[in-house]
C-alpha cells in the first residue's frame, strides 16, 4: 500500500459520510449503490462509488435512474465484464462532471428493448464522446457554467443546471441524428435539428435567453466537427 493510501482512505470515508447525508437527501442511500455494484460484481467498486458520490454533489443527478440501470444490467445474462462495460461510459461521464440523464435513459431503453448489452455499450460510448465534445464546443464559444448562486464571472456564464441541459440536449440531438443515419457532413441539417429541439423546449425546460445564446454562436461546421469526433 502506498504512503498516500491511509490519507486518501480517510478522505474517502469523510466523503462517504458527507455524501450519505447528501444521498439521504436525494432519497437514495449510497449503500444501495455499493450493493448494486457488488452484485455485478464490478472490478473496481471504489471507483464506481466515488463517481456516484461526485454525481450526487450535483442537484440534477438522476440517482434513482442510475441505480435502476445498474440493477437492470445486473439482472441480464451477460458476463460481469460486459455488464461493467455498459456502465463504464456513465461512470466516466460522472467523473467528468457531465450530465448523465441522456446516457442513463438510453441505457434503460436499450435494456427494456432487449438490445444486446455490447450494442448498448457502443451507443453509450458514442453519446459520452458527444457530451464531452459538446461541452468543449460551448466553452470554445465562450459559454461557461457557474455554480448556482455564484456571481457570474462573464455575462455568458450560466448556472450549471442550465448549462447541463444545453449540453444534454445538443449532444442528444446529434446522437439521435447520427443513429438515424444522418451524415455528419450535413452541418446545416444538424443545425436545423438542434434549433428545432432547443426551440421546442423553450419555456419551462430551457430559458429562451440560453437557447438564443447557443443558436447565435453555434455554426453548422461546429456541429459537423462534434459529430465527426463521435464517429471517428
Amino acid at each position: 500500500m502506498n504512503p498516500q493510501g491511509g490519507r486518501s482512505r480517510f478522505a474517502l470515508v469523510i466523503l462517504v459520510l458527507a455524501c450519505l447525508g447528501l444521498s439521504a437527501a436525494a432519497g437514495v442511500p449510497i449503500s444501495a449503490f455499493e450493493e448494486a455494484f457488488r452484485a455485478i460484481p464490478v472490478s473496481d467498486p471504489h471507483r464506481f462509488v466515488a463517481a456516484v458520490e461526485l454525481g450526487l454533489t450535483q442537484t440534477d443527478f438522476p440517482a434513482t435512474e442510475v441505480l435502476q440501470l445498474t440493477g437492470r444490467v445486473s439482472a441480464t445474462m451477460y458476463t460481469a465484464q460486459e455488464k461493467e462495460a455498459l456502465l463504464l461510459p456513465v461512470i466516466a461521464a460522472m467523473e467528468d462532471g457531465l450530465p448523465v440523464d441522456g446516457l442513463v435513459t438510453k441505457g434503460l431503453e436499450g435494456l427494456a428493448r432487449g438490445i444486446p448489452v455490447p450494442q448498448i455499450e457502443q451507443s453509450l460510448r458514442q453519446r459520452r464522446v458527444l457530451l464531452i465534445e459538446t461541452r468543449d464546443l460551448l466553452y470554445a464559444l465562450g459559454i461557461f457554467s457557474v455554480a448556482p448562486g455564484s456571481p457570474q464571472s462573464v455575462p455568458t456564464a450560466i448556472p450549471t443546471p442550465r448549462f447541463n441541459l444545453l449540453v444534454t440536449h445538443v449532444s442528444d440531438t446529434i446522437a439521435d441524428y447520427l443513429e438515424g443515419g444522418g451524415s455528419p457532413f450535413e452541418g446545416q441539417a444538424l443545425y436545423q435539428e438542434v434549433r428545432f429541439r432547443l426551440t421546442s423546449l423553450e419555456g419551462a425546460t430551457l430559458k429562451a435567453e440560453d437557447v438564443d445564446l447557443v443558436l447565435k454562436r453555434i455554426e453548422p461546421s461546429d456541429l459537423t466537427r462534434v459529430a465527426l469526433a463521435a464517429v471517428t
Binding site: G181, E186, Q188, Y191, Q192, R195, F196
Partner: protein, 182 residues
C-alpha cells in the same frame, strides 16, 4: 393575394373558437399547403395526410402564433416540419409510388407531348435530394421570397439561393439526359 386585415380578423375569430373562421382559413390555404407537401413528399397519400395534420396542428397551436408575423410563413413551417418527420419515417418504410396519371379529354398528340415533358420533370424532381427540392417547391410553387424560404426551412438565405441554383442545374441536367436518350 389575401387582404391582410381580413386574415387577421379570421385568425382572431378562430382563436375565439369560431370554427367557421378556421374553415375559411383552410379554404384559402389548402392548395398552397397541399402543393408544398406534394412537392416535398412526392407521394399523394402522404401529402393529403400531412396537409390535414398541418391544419389540425396549426389550430391547436394558434395561441402560440404571433399575430404580428406572417401567418402563411408560420403555417408553411408547420407543414414543412411535418413533411420532414414523415420523410424520416418513410426512409425506412417506403411506399410504392404510383405515377400520377394525366386525365381529362384533349387531343391525344397534346396529351402525349405534355405527358413526356411533365413526366420527365416529375421524375427528376422526385430524384432530387430533399435539401434541393424543398427550396425549389417553395420558390416555384408557393412563389415565396428567399427570406421566407429561409425562415421556413431554418437555413440561411444564402444557402437558399445556392440550393435553388444547384437544384435547377441538377434538374436541367437530368431532363436533358432523358431527352437525349435514344
Amino acid at each position: 393575394m389575401y387582404r391582410v386585415q381580413d386574415e387577421v380578423s379570421l385568425l382572431r375569430a378562430s382563436l375565439e373558437g369560431e370554427t367557421e373562421a378556421w374553415g375559411e382559413v383552410i379554404s384559402r390555404y389548402k392548395d398552397a399547403v397541399f402543393g408544398l407537401c406534394l412537392g416535398f413528399l412526392r407521394n399523394r397519400a402522404d401529402a393529403e395526410d400531412i396537409t390535414h395534420d398541418a391544419f389540425i396542428r396549426a389550430y391547436v397551436n394558434l395561441r402560440r402564433y404571433n399575430l404580428e408575423k406572417r401567418f402563411s410563413t408560420w403555417l408553411f413551417t408547420i407543414a414543412a416540419n411535418l413533411c420532414r418527420n414523415r420523410l424520416r419515417y418513410r426512409r425506412n418504410h417506403p411506399v410504392a409510388e404510383l405515377p400520377t396519371q394525366i386525365r381529362g379529354g384533349a387531343d391525344p398528340a397534346t396529351i402525349v407531348a405534355r405527358d413526356d415533358r411533365h413526366v420527365e420533370v416529375r421524375e427528376a424532381l422526385t430524384q432530387l435530394p430533399y435539401g434541393y427540392r424543398a427550396p425549389l417547391v417553395l420558390r416555384f410553387y408557393n412563389d415565396l421570397s428567399y427570406r421566407e424560404i429561409a425562415d421556413i426551412l431554418s437555413i440561411p438565405e444564402g444557402t437558399v439561393k445556392t440550393r435553388i441554383h444547384r437544384g435547377k442545374a441538377m434538374l436541367k441536367q437530368r431532363i436533358e439526359e432523358e431527352r437525349d436518350r435514344p
